[in-house]
Every structure is written in structure tokens, then in C-alpha cells.
Amino acid sequence: MNEMLIIMKSELLITIIIFLLLFIKLGKGMTNDSLLILVQFLMLLNFIAGFFFNLPGNLFDGMYHTGPLIAFQKNILNLGVYLISLLFADWFRKSEHLTEFFILLLSALLGMFLMISSGNLLMFFLSLELATIPVAALANFDLDKKKSSEAAMKFILSSAFSSGILLFGISMVYGATGTLSFELLPAQLNGNPLQVLAFVFLFAAFAFKLSIVPFHLWTADVYEGSPVAVTAFLSVISKGSVSFIFLTALYKVFQPMNELWYNMVMILSIATMITGNLFALRQQNIKRFLAFSSIAQLGFILVGISSNALEGTSSVVYFVLIYVFSNLAAFGVTSVISSRVGKENIDEYRGLYQTNPFLCWVMALALFSLAGIPPTAGFFGKLFLLTAGASKANYTFIIIAALNMILSLYYYLKVIRAMFMEKNEKPIEKIRLYPSVKLGMVICAIGIILTGLLSWVFDYIQSLH
């Protein structure tokens, strides 16, 4: 029993925090500022706790399992949530339902944890829903903004649709194999057409969560309409967690059909990169822009996933770690500007460097990292994804991926250009950052630079297997 508590420690911690927040809410409540500090503190504790007492194990008849790699993945997500609690202080302070916000956020996080740990399609489905439905509610948290409810509506409907698809796929898998367990499934899979069909349904649901073309269409609208914090959560934490479980699903569960999914991943990866980039190219709204760019990033993750090897897992996990830093930094800057000045257009960023060099450098670092420019960690991340993907010696694929890096560089540079090069009579005025935001940005910046240069990070991830 004790052992079980330790094994499920991260989930339990989150649950405890959720209930703590619930009691605070039910009690007399707290001011936003103190609550925020409390939450930040708790998240930090939670993050730190993630490094200790990690026990691998299998619980509930294999429905739940964990190991060093999964623990590390959860730590990445914890880190992301901690950073979110730091970076979006501007928005949090104005929010009226901060407690509920974090309750929902943490429920979703809990769902993700369970999802990563799930060893069974039922658990997977349930935790996926747990990770989705609260987020849909969160997307509506800019209660007085039309766009926010529109985003939430689109999100909940799309994900309901995708749940339907997923369930249909699961039901077919169940019918064809008689089992839902990740352990037992591989033995039953033989790649006959029905299984392929079932796999396509399942795959599509994953693809939906990962915003892979052509299942990505909800992404941009939802990102644009949601509060920045939710967008960041969706684009970083949610994507990260789904890629982790996707790895397990492909490498472990559907291993017998790896030829099939390799091709599928390849096609969709190419489509995703190209589409994401092409759409990102012409965005003016920075959130939308980041949405499409993150779609393209997901295409890259698929490149890594396609390798079907140890390197694939490590490079994806590594990339997600870097992605947490980079994308959160970018969203952090966006959020500061959007909640202070209400400007979200790239054009309005012109001349920002004259007034806010710190923000600009953070943004630049983040974007360079996303674009894969050394010495930022994104360079290593992308390179390892490509390296992993290249192990199949499919050069066309890799060349397309590499060329897409250029395309993506083009639009990242657009933002850089606006901030650094273009002149503006009335640039955004100087913004004094909250300490926590500054702290978050510094952490991100350090992460962006050091995660790559300190090569043992990758080796450590590799060793977790």
C-alpha cells in the first residue's frame, strides 16, 4: 500500500494540491496575489518533489505503470506548469477565478500524468478526457471575451468528435483482439485491414490531440481565443504529454505494425510541417502565429518519432523539454504584452527593442530556439529529431524536413525583424515586469541556452530507458 502511494506519488501530489485549492476556494478564499504565490510555491515543490522517491512499478493490473523515463516526462510537465504559474502572472492577477483556474489546470495535468502512465486503452481514454475537458473549460476563462467562448466551443466540440472517433477505433481494436491492455495487444496485432482501420481511427485521435495535419484545424482558433496561459498549456504541456504517450503507443503497442505507421507518420509529418509553416507564414496575430508554428514543430516531433528506436524516444523527450522552455518563453512575452498593452499583432511589435530589450532578447532566444538556431537548445533538439528520423535512411523525408526548417526560419525572422529592425514612431512603452515573470523568463532563457550546451542532459534522458 505504501509502495503504491510512492509509485503514484506525482499523481497523488497533484490531487492533494487540487483538494487544497478546493478547500481554499470553499473557505474564505484568498487574494489573487497571495494565492498566486502559494500556487507558484506549490508548483515549485511539486517540481522538486518529482526528482525524489521515484519508484518504478505496475499497478492496477497494469493499468498504471511508471518508470524513470515516465517520471522524467512528468517532471518536464511539472516544470512546464511551474513556468506557466510564473510567466502568466499578469493575466492571473486579473483573473477572477484563479483558484478554479488552477484546479482545472491541475486536473488536466493529472489527466496527463495518468495518460503517460496508462497501460490500458481504457485508462488512456479516461485520462485523455480528463486532460481535455477541463482545458476546454479553461479556454473559456476569459469570460467576457467572445473569442474565448468561441475557442472553448470549438475545442469541446472538436474533441468530442475526436473522442468519438477514438472510441470507435478502440472498440474495433477491442473487437479484433479482445484486450485493451498495452501489454497484451502487440501479440494480437497482425496488420490485417480491420486492424489497420482501427489503427487509423486511433491514430487520428492522437493526431488530433497533437494537431497533426489534417486533424489540426481546431488548433489555431483555440489558441487564438483562449487566454494566453491556456494556450501555452495546450501548446506545450498538452502536446508534450500526448507525444509521450504517442511514443509508447507506437513503439510498444503498435510495434507489430511499425511499417504501416512509419509511412503514416512520414506522410503526416511532411504534411504537418508544410501546412504549419505555410499558415504560420501569413499570420499577424502572434498567438495564432505561435499556434501554426507549434503545428510545424509537431511535424518535427513526428520526424523523431518515425525513427522507431531508443533514439526516437530520447530525442522526442529531449525536444519536448526544450520546447517547454522555448515556447513558454515566447508565450510569456506574448502574454505580458497582450495583458499589459493589449497588443497581439506582430506589426505592433515593431521597434520593441528600443523600449523593452529584455523582452526582445527573451523572445529572440525563444524563436531562435524554435527555429533551431545554435547555440540555443532548439538546435540540438531539432538536430536530434532529424538524426533519429534519418536512421531509416529516407533522405527525401529528411531533406523535406530540413527544408522546412528554412521556411520556419523565415517567419520566425519576421518577428525578429519587427522587434529589432523595423522602426516605429510609437513603439510599445516600457513595461515593468513582475518579479515572477522575470524569474520565469530568466529560467526559460537559461534553459534555452544550457539544455543544449550541457550535453549530459540528453545522455541522461537516454539513460532513463
Partner: protein
């Protein structure tokens, strides 16, 4: 000699620059860093030659290796041979001159010097790394500083140029990346180590796939026709020091890569594709020269002439003879010094006359004899006057190319030879219009070079003359290593 110094000095300089506030101090810090680096480079040359003289016959000297990303078998492997020593020397020359030339930079001084030093860091790292991954890392490090240098401090259609440059260079490096990955996965053992890869050999099929990727990829950096269009725009929009770095150092990264990575590792591939590259580089040489002829803007002119001159580098490499490869390396050094100086001079002139249009200037010799004299010298170097470095390099390439007795190579060589006439035409045209002729009205009060500009010019001229008058030391420095590359090529059937 610890090669890490070559990376650490610019790194610390860059950090120091970031920490400074007073622009005046920043300049001095940057200059100190560049000078230290310059001395280190000279020291490296001496140490290298001593070591060789003492009979050290390892292929690479001063090797160091630190494991990095062990799971990918990547290591931080450093080492130099004659070619890289020469390239480092070139970089040191250009960097110090670049820092000196931009002494009067007032706009965002800190960022400017930071980026310059970062760029040089990339170049140094590139030249000393023996691990392809690290090499690629440094190659890419050098791209974004260029973009920002052009975009923030540039002139003209700078944003367009900066974009084009960054994207095309990234495109090149993307190809390089794919090529490197191909090598990595298709060699008998997974390694990025240059020396190891050359020892274990790469199968011919792989070479046939990877060679074009790597060569074209690096070729983009070296203005391989038809991937050269970033050169004119990029160079002409960049600030003076930016152009100097761009043409003097950055384009050499590509040439070095073509030689050290593509040709050295994949001799069979090099043989397979040599003819195509010869055709392309011959076109670049002559076509670049003719295009230069039509330019009216000094910077554009020099940029296009760089296309032509870098065509020599690629021609030399793809001719696959020891002499021509030596010539290619010499041409890289020579062109690096020369074109940096050229841009420096153009910058000086522009600073005073506020125009770069050839037709709008006249008689500058009268009011700025020093600058004009340098202009003459660099022009003569460009058109291959004996006693200056350009001649030595070009002749070595010609001699090397001529070693192939068949008509194809002959024609390519002759085409290349013909370009020196065209070069003469455009150089003389530029000099004749700007430096010579009656003094234009309103120019009477222009001043000659200031101390920093003089110093920068003198340093570069010294380099040019040192090679031009005594090419043997460079030949001896580079020759054995090109010989080594040649041996590998000869060994493949």
C-alpha cells in the same frame, strides 16, 4: 598550444562586451579580444610549424577530445592541420580589421560588437572542429549574427537582403545536415568524427548520395552558381564590418567545408560529380565577372566579383589535383583578405562621400591618397597582380587545373583564365572612375583615413603582400594536407 583558446577568447570577449555599458569601453574590449586572438593565431602558426619541423607527422595537431552527447557518439574533437591553421590566420586578420574599421559605430555598439565576435567565434570553431556535428554547430552559429548585422546596421534594402541571406544559408546548411546524417548512418560505425570517418571509409553508394548534398550545401556558402544570389544583396546591404566578415570569413566556411568535409571524406563522390561542379564553377567565374562588369554600385561590384573569385575556389577543389586544391585554399585566404580589405575601403569611401555609385565619384586620389592607394592595391590584388596574393592563388589553380590533359578540363581552365581580363576591366573601371579623374566638386574637404582605418588596412595589406611575395610558406603550410586529400582521391579507383 591549446586550441580551446581560440574559442574561449572570443567567448569571453563576447561575454565581457555584454557586461559592459560604456560604448567606448566596449570598443576597447573588442579590440583587445581581437588582438589577443590575432596573437594567438600567429602563435598557433608558429607552434604548428615548429611541431611539423620537429617531425610530428600526425595528420592533425594539437588534438583534443571531450565527449559530448555520448549516446550519439559525438565528441568535442578539436585539431588543426595546415589548411585550418591558414584559415584561422585569415579569420584573425579579418576580425581585427573588422573591429578596427567599425570603430565609429554609434548605433547599438554593444550589440554590434557582440554579434561580430559571435560570428568570429563561429568561424574559429568551425575551422578547428574535427567532429562533423560540432562543425555544423559552429557553421550555423555564424548565420544569425550575419542576419542581425545586416538587418539592424545595414543599408539599402537591408531586410530583404538579410532575409535572403539567412534563408539561403540555412538552406545550404540544411543540405549539409542531411549529408552529414547520411554519412553518420551509412558509415560502418556511427560516428561524426572526421578522422575516424575517413579511416573507416564510406561506401561508394553513400558517397554518391551524400557528396552532392554536402558540396552544394557548403557551396551555397561559397556562392556556388546558381545559389549565389544572397551574395550581392547580402554583402551590399551589410555594414562595412559585416561585409568584411561575410565575404572574408563566412564564404570561406563553405569552401573549407567543401574541401575538408565533402571532398576529403568522399573522394569517390568527388570524382563522380567533379565535372558538374567544374561546369558550375566555370560558369560562376566568367558569369560572375561579366555581371560584375555591369554593376554601378561599388559594393555590388565587389560582391559579384566575390562570386567570380569564389568560383575559383570551387574550381580548384573540383579539379581534384593537389596543386589546384592548394590553389583553392590559397584563393580562400587571398580572397578573404582581399575582399575584406575591399569592403573596408568601400566603407571608408562611403563614409566620406555618402555614395557608393561609381559614376557619382571622381578624383578621390587627390583628397584621400591613402584610401585610394589601398583601393589600388586591393584592386590589383583582385585582378591578380603578381606580388599580391590573388596572383599566387589563381596561378596555382590554373596550374593545377591544367594537369588534366583532356579537353573538358582544358576548356574550363581557359574559361577561368579569360575571366582575369574581365576582372581587369571592371576593376580598372571602378578605380578609374572613383579614384582617378578630376576631383568632383564638393569633395575638396574630404579627409583621409583615420588611425584605425589605416591600421586595419595596413594589417590586411600586410597579409596580402606576405602571401603575394612569399607564397612558399603558405604553400608549405597547406601543401602536405592537400596532398593527403589527393592521396585519398587517388586511392579510389
Amino acid at each position: 598550444m591549446n586550441l580551446l583558446l581560440l574559442i574561449l577568447i572570443p567567448l569571453f570577449t563576447a561575454i565581457a562586451v555584454l557586461l559592459m555599458r560604456n560604448p567606448q569601453h566596449i570598443k576597447w574590449v573588442a579590440l583587445t579580444g581581437a588582438t589577443t586572438q590575432f596573437i594567438t593565431a600567429l602563435w598557433l602558426l608558429l607552434a604548428y610549424q615548429n611541431e611539423r619541423a620537429a617531425g610530428n607527422h600526425f595528420q592533425m595537431l594539437f588534438e583534443q577530445r571531450y565527449n559530448l552527447f555520448t549516446s550519439w557518439h559525438i565528441s568535442f574533437h578539436l585539431g588543426v592541420d595546415g589548411i585550418s591553421t591558414a584559415m584561422i590566420l585569415l579569420t584573425a586578420f579579418v576580425v581585427i580589421a573588422g573591429v578596427l574599421v567599425s570603430w565609429k559605430m554609434t548605433k547599438m555598439t554593444k550589440e554590434f560588437y557582440f554579434l561580430l565576435i559571435l560570428l568570429s567565434l563561429g568561424a574559429y570553431g568551425f575551422f578547428i572542429s574535427l567532429d562533423l556535428f560540432i562543425l555544423f554547430f559552429f557553421l550555423e552559429i555564424a548565420v544569425i549574427p550575419k542576419y542581425l548585422l545586416i538587418g539592424i546596421w545595414g543599408s539599402g534594402n537591408k531586410e530583404y537582403s538579410a532575409n535572403k541571406l539567412a534563408l539561403m544559408l540555412m538552406g545550404g546548411s540544411a543540405l549539409v545536415l542531411v549529408g552529414l546524417l547520411g554519412l553518420y548512418f551509412n558509415s560502418p560505425e556511427r560516428t561524426f568524427d572526421l578522422i575516424r570517418l575517413s579511416e573507416i571509409g564510406i561506401s561508394t553508394e553513400t558517397q554518391k548520395i551524400c557528396f552532392p548534398l554536402l558540396f552544394i550545401g557548403f557551396g551555397v556558402f561559397t556562392a556556388l552558381f546558381p545559389f549565389h544570389t544572397w551574395v550581392p544583396d547580402g554583402h551590399s546591404s551589410a555594414p562595412t564590418a559585416g561585409s568584411m566578415f561575410l565575404a572574408g570569413i563566412s564564404m570561406k566556411l563553405g569552401g573549407y567545408g567543401c574541401l575538408r568535409v565533402a571532398t576529403y571524406l568522399m573522394p569517390a563522390g568527388a570524382k563522380e560529380y567533379a565535372n558538374i561542379i567544374i561546369v558550375l564553377s566555370s560558369i560562376a567565374i566568367l558569369y560572375g565577372a561579366f555581371t560584375t562588369l555591369m554593376q554601378k554600385d561599388l559594393k555590388y561590384m565587389n560582391a559579384y566579383s566575390s562570386v567570380s573569385h569564389c568560383g575559383f575556389v570551387l574550381l580548384g577543389i573540383s579539379m581534384l589535383t593537389k596543386t589546384s586544391m592548394t590553389g583553392a585554399v590559397m584563393q580562400m585566404i587571398s580572397h578573404g583578405l582581399m575582399t575584406a580589405l575591399f569592403f573596408a575601403v568601400i566603407g571608408m569611401i562611403y563614409e566620406r562621400t555618402h555614395t557608393r555609385q561609381i559614376n557619382e565619384m571622381s578624383g578621390l586620389l587627390k583628397v584621400m591618397p591613402f584610401i585610394s592607394t589601398i583601393f589600388f592595391i586591393v584592386g590589383f590584388c583582385s585582378l591578380g597582380l603578381p606580388g599580391l596574393s590573388g596572383f599566387v592563388a589563381e596561378m596555382t589553380i590554373f596550374m593545377g587545373s591544367w594537369e588534366h590533359p583532356d579537353a573538358f578540363h582544358r576548356i574550363a581552365t581557359i574559361v577561368a583564365c579569360l575571366s582575369i581580363v574581365v576582372t581587369a576591366v571592371y576593376i580598372l573601371r571602378a578605380i578609374g572612375k572613383t579614384a582617378m579623374g578630376p576631383l568632383k566638386e564638393g569633395y575638396a574637404n574630404l579627409t583621409d583615413a583615420s588611425w584605425n582605418e589605416k591600421l586595419a588596412a595596413v594589417i590586411l595589406v600586410a597579409g596580402i603582400i606576405a602571401i603575394g611575395c612569399a607564397p612558399f610558406w603558405l604553400n608549405n603550410l597547406v601543401g602536405p594536407d592537400t596532398q593527403l586529400i589527393m592521396q585519398k582521391i587517388l586511392l579510389t579507383q
